[in-house]
């Protein structure tokens, strides 16, 4: 039985930091490019939305006059942690133990462009928005100096190159001794398996579960039907948090081999040094089984040994001494963008959605993902509350063309929905649960 193949194009060049040179710049540039790009888009959409109203800058507002302004939102949040809290004499409103969600009924939105800023009031709910989103608002300035909003225009889903049909998706549930996949298999379908939160090296990691998953994907399990399913899998995407290194190793000690007793640096004892590398070695061994059989994309996550700022750069090949010898192994950035037989995939390891969860409210994680698509920006809270590189001339998180499949890793549970846009865009939104907690990987098809 032969495994199916698919044409793969990696689109991660926009996330590479290799060519960037840090000159000490701050984040004003990335906000400027974001505003400029989104404002051009919104200006093109305003005539279809409210054609008779003038578009003005914040400084050009006149009291009582109905108009439209375009700018970046800033949400003023009482409970947002600030580094200055540590130094304030009175520890009143802000508790030292940080809550999971920093929302407060007193939060309000401010719209800002190059000329100035104005507080927004009216029909724009602060709970649904975060700092960094660029929108157009229709309303008028009040005598109090606020801008009373009547209506809001978001950029909406970007244009999409159409595909003949929509995608099928189902979860693969891996329990300790069994695998169950509920699926309706079409003969010509090709499938991509998403898994995240493997957390090799943590207490929650169960090697048997991971081994079962690998055996299932590589076709070593089950009868002919099972193998048939497995032969339709063309790619595996590992969406972050593949290793877990115990926090007790991160206590600021220098890892320097002691060559002479004159060295005053403390060192990590040699038994601990090999202990740190163990989870990565174990992951490498298991990955090698996988890459021997089909292409694998490895994305870094918040707990992986990669840089902290988004976009996270691909994990280094030296970490995967076994798997990187195969040309089927690709180390990818986070966020990750690729095309498989002209089906466009975009996804992250979860940091963008988790940050939205801290600063805004929605009925489920999929709604956050939907909002990021409607705002045409993968991570609007970057750089405000999510670390990101201070680009000077571009904002790589802007979404120019609508993906067909949008995946978010390291979530609590498996969720999926088909989102339909105003211009017949179809996007499959997927939340990939943490494998160490749930034992669930996700298999998605794209009818080709």
């Amino acid at each position: 039985m032969e495994r199916k193949q698919a044409e793969y194009i990696n689109l991660d060049e926009r996330y590479a930091i290799q060519g960037e040179k840090y000159q000490g710049q701050q984040y004003s540039h990335i906000y400027y490019t974001r505003l400029h790009h989104m404002r051009n888009l919104l200006h093109a959409l305003v005539p279809d939305w409210k054609p008779h109203l003038p578009v003005t800058t914040v400084l050009g507002l006149e009291e009582g006059k109905d108009c439209i302004i375009v700018g970046t939102l800033y949400k003023h949040m009482k409970l947002k942690p600030s580094v200055l809290d540590e130094y304030s004499k009175e520890r009143s409103a802000i508790p030292l133990v940080k809550p999971h969600n920093f929302m407060h009924p007193d939060d309000h939105l401010i719209l800002e462009d190059e000329s100035g800023r104005v507080t927004l009031a009216g029909s724009i709910p602060p709970a649904a928005y975060v700092t960094g989103v660029v929108v157009a608002v229709h309303g008028k300035e009040t005598s109090a100096g606020n801008f009373l909003v009547e209506d809001v225009l978001e950029a909406g889903l970007p244009p999409q190159t159409p595909l003949p049909s929509i995608s099928n998706i189902f979860p693969i549930l891996v329990r300790s001794f069994s695998i169950s996949t509920i699926c309706l298999l079409e003969d010509e379908d090709k499938y991509v398996v998403f898994v995240s939160g493997l957390s090799v090296g943590s207490d929650k990691f169960n090697p048997l579960q991971f081994q079962l998953l690998i055996d299932h994907i590589t076709g070593h399990l089950g009868d002919e039907n099972e193998q048939k399913i497995a032969s339709n899998i063309v790619r595996v995407v590992v969406a972050g948090n593949s290793v877990h290194i115990s926090p007790r190793f991160f206590n600021g000690q220098f890892i320097v081999p002691v060559l002479s007793s004159d060295l005053i640096f403390q060192t990590v004892p040699s038994k601990d040094q090999s202990r740190i590398a163990e989870p990565i070695k174990e992951l490498d061994i298991m990955l090698t089984q996988l890459v021997a059989s089909l292409p694998v994309d490895m994305m870094p996550g918040p707990n992986d040994p990669a840089n902290f700022l988004l976009p996270q750069q691909p994990l280094h090949r030296c970490l995967f001494s076994g798997a990187s010898t195969y040309n089927t192994f690709s180390s990818c950035s986070n966020p990750h963008q690729f095309e498989l037989d002209s089906v466009r995939f975009i996804g992250t390891s979860g940091q963008n959605i988790d940050d939205l969860y801290k600063y805004s409210d929605a009925k489920d994680k999929l709604e956050f993902s939907e909002r990021t698509l409607r705002w045409r920006h993968l991570a609007p809270t970057a750089p405000n509350s999510l670390g990101c590189y201070p680009y000077t001339d571009k904002d790589p998180f802007l979404i120019e063309s609508c993906p067909h499949i949008y995946f978010i890793g390291n979530q609590d549970k498996y969720e999926t929905r088909l989102l339909q846009g105003a211009e017949k865009q179809n996007v499959r939104l997927i939340c990939i649960p943490r494998f160490c907690d749930t034992g669930v990987a996700v298999m998605s098809s794209s009818r080709l």
Binding site: G24, Q25, H29, Y32, T392, D393
Partner: protein, 131 residues
């Protein structure tokens, strides 16, 4: 530099009306840049306290530098701190904002000219080293 006389320190050129006003305001700023103690005499300008070791004397800057400063301050092209003027020009051009083309030539000529005295326009924005 600390040994030069008062005349050198407070060098002024008699120019036309507006230029004179700006040069006198430059003189005010020079008065306060002389080190940690405000109002210190000319000899107190210790080298260690001057950023980048260059004098802040800019009352002699040229017409070209003035044009570049106007370019720096123009909000349309975005923030100026943290990028070189040429990078900012290229960025503005790539965004379709049509920055004045002669400024790019000016910056490229200055870059290739090599020798840089206080009179030639700077490649960095006007706040560089001061903020």
């Amino acid at each position: 530099m600390a040994s030069s006389g008062v005349k050198d320190f407070y060098r002024q050129k008699k120019k036309g009306g507006p230029a004179k006003a700006s040069s006198s305001s430059k003189k005010k700023t020079q008065h306060y840049t002389g080190g940690a103690s405000v109002g210190a005499s000319n000899t107190a300008q210790t080298p260690a306290l001057i950023s980048h070791g260059t004098l802040d004397l800019k009352d002699d800057f040229s017409e070209q530098e003035e044009q570049l400063r106007q370019f720096d301050m123009n909000l349309k092209f975005g923030p100026c701190i943290g990028v070189t003027r040429l990078q900012r020009w290229e960025r503005a051009s790539a965004m379709g904002l049509h920055p004045p083309p002669h400024l790019r030539d000016l910056l490229l000529n200055t870059a290739s000219a090599g020798s840089r005295n206080n009179n030639s326009p700077s490649l960095e924005c006007l706040w560089e080293g001061k903020v």
